[in-house]
Amino acid sequence: MYTPEMKELIKKVEETRPQRVGVDFPRMTPEERTEVLKNYHPDFIEEGFRPLKIGVNKGENAPQELADLLEARSRLEGVELNLEEVAYDVDVLVIGGGGAGAAAALMAKEQGAEVLLVTKLRFGDANTMMAQGGIQAADKPHDSPPIHYVDVMGGGHFTNIPELVRALVNDAPMVIKWLEEMGTMFDKEGNGTMVTAHGGGTSRKRMHAARDYTGAEIMRTLRDEAINRGVDVIEFCSAVELILDEEGKAGGAVLYNLETEEYLVARAKTVILAMGGAGRLHYQNFPTTNHYGATADGLVMGYRAGAKLAFMDTIQYHPTGAAYPPQILGLLVTEAVRGRGATFLNIDGEQFTYHLETRDVASAAIIRECVGRKKGITTPTGMVGVWLDSPLIELIHGEGAIERMLPAMLRQFSRFGVDIRKEPMLIYPTLHYQNGGLLIDEHGQSNIENLYVAGENAGGIHGRNRLMGNSLLDILVFGRRAGLHAAEKSKGVEVKKLTLDHIDAHHRELEENGVDTAGRVSPMLLPRYTHREVLETAVE
């Protein structure tokens, strides 16, 4: 519930609302965009990053919190483990039960491979489940994969790897078709035409949605299908290190049963890392939209085994994280809210930026409004934010539009006393997505033989900035490609003697480079929030 002081401020929003209907704030020029990013985006805060002291990307910048984990000791140090004692022996080992992992497992299974999927929490407890806004694909007549290509490259500031973007946009309609054939309930018109909308940075309306439960609908469908198809799944089972064979190829992983706290060896001909993002590392103290298990484990394990990282110094802050009520601090307000026409307003009820700028630009513009221009709204717990004028959606699309198009948002805010049909939302940027990750090629292969990477822990597709709706897409495009290729590849693979020598080498490298690990071990697996009151953020 808003406080009386906040309700007073909302009156200004209501006053200016009638004049704002149907009037777009001008888009920024390319120069203006560059300037606001340089001055206000967290990626440009120097203290937030440091050069890595070890590994293939030595000398390159990574967020401090991630560098801490990359430069830490293995959990297996001092653990008795016999690599000959193999608990699971499969063709394809998929690590991570989100959308990328499920897609990979399904495709590998379809190729006749024996597939094991292990995941840290439950199957589907993943960022994929939380995606609300939608998934992009150029499948309408006035749109095309080449048009999509240009949008993706522009969104990524032209740093994306062209081969990966090509795969992304050209496979996109196939992915949607695949989902449709599994019975995924996309929003459709009567004759089957997909209802599609804009997202930040799109030039065509190509965002497909399933109400505002798009990720959930995709995830539960894939999960249901994976179980139906007989994919073996082990839940509450984390991978903690990759195992290589004596030729330096991937040969499996060490698993950790979260219940019994035992370590187990899984041997596999090919391994697919699909462990998702890193939001729970809370870079620069930002709150996050990510699920509980988003702790960069895939990056840590892959890097230690010698896989190369790309674009690690670029993080996506979602412009619209909830700043109020405090119980949902940092949680996502789906981009579909601005996609449907809600605009950003400052304390005076004035618009200060075009509502569909790309995420990085919109985030920087909001931080500028609050921190630079001091025109944000302060909450009782000392947070600051700007308004996102959701009632405008009802004016544009008619009464009942929010209930119909945004039921998850309506529900989440109303649980804590805010009716977004009548009152604007208070938002501030939140840590959302890892633009970079382990570098892949168009089949999802890393630079280590037989090691594949798919989903948010892969890097290169989005360059320095991902557009909304392209991540759900990428996890399926590259999850499918990795699953296919890994299954095919596995047919010709003979796994040699397994070793963990790379872990010893990693420890030696830490010592040789004088890294003080200060007792840190990684991967993190679960964040530690014990005795914490509420998350504090970067903003005072």
Binding site: P30, P146, T193, M194, T530
Partner: protein, 226 residues
């Protein structure tokens, strides 16, 4: 900053004093738990955190999602993070969109006694009993629509005297409806065929070769659909 109001809650019977503004999930962590089970998205989307609670002096049992429910004074609570329900295995391609498909895999839907416990406990405020009734009748459209916002937390099944696993019935209905009843998108089919016929390959190859400046030019002069 305002004074923090504290309330007492009981976890596994032990008393802890926690700030009243916290959700049950945050409160458990505040009390010192490192959650392993019963915690997924932390945002009301995954259904990992179903919680049963009672307030001192009230005999009634309440349920909620730990990540979406605020603590209350004298709350006694326990989590049911895993519910051992049966999920049928089927091939949606081979099934017809009918009551009989649902009945084959989940015959217990006809044992519903109309107690409405499922609807009463649903943290998403869905009319669960109603969608089971639609399932019984083979009204897939309504069953799919009514159950759509289900996050599969399992609280409904945990309270059902007829042992119905409502959320699994819901997803089967939705998949049957999505696959066999909703018409496939014609423009999607067309585009897929075009791509298979390599219609865009040349253009994409061309774009891949473009220098950044040329791409920038294209990007900055894009025509934006209204």
């Amino acid at each position: 900053m305002a004074q923090v109001e504290m309330v007492d809650i009981y976890l596994m019977g032990k008393k802890y004093s926690v700030p009243e503004s916290l959700t049950i999930m945050d409160a458990m962590e505040f009390a010192g738990y490192q959650l392993k089970r019963g915690c997924g998205c932390r945002a009301g989307f995954c259904g990992a955190c179903g919680t049963v609670y009672r307030i001192a002096g009230d005999y009634e049992l309440y349920v909620g999602l730990a990540c979406q429910t605020k603590v209350e004074h004298n709350m006694y609570l326990a989590q049911i993070p895993f519910f051992p329900a049966v999920k049928a295995e089927y091939d949606v391609d081979e099934l017809t969109p009918s009551a009989s498909s649902l009945a084959t895999y989940y015959p217990e839907i006809y044992r519903c006694i109309g107690c409405n416990s499922c609807t009463n406990v649903c943290p998403q405020d869905l009319n669960v009993m109603q969608y089971v009734a639609y399932a019984q009748r083979g009204d897939l459209e309504r069953c799919a629509s009514e159950s759509f916002d289900c996050i599969m937390c399992g609280l409904c099944a945990s309270r059902c005297p007829a042992h119905i696993v409502q959320y699994h019935v819901g997803i089967l209905a939705r998949r049957l409806y999505g696959k066999h009843v909703l018409p496939p998108a014609p423009h999607l089919q067309e585009r897929v065929e075009e791509i298979k016929a390599k219609k865009y390959d040349a253009d994409l190859d061309e774009l891949m070769k473009k220098a950044t400046d040329e791409l920038k030019e294209l990007y900055n002069s894009r025509e934006i659909e209204k």
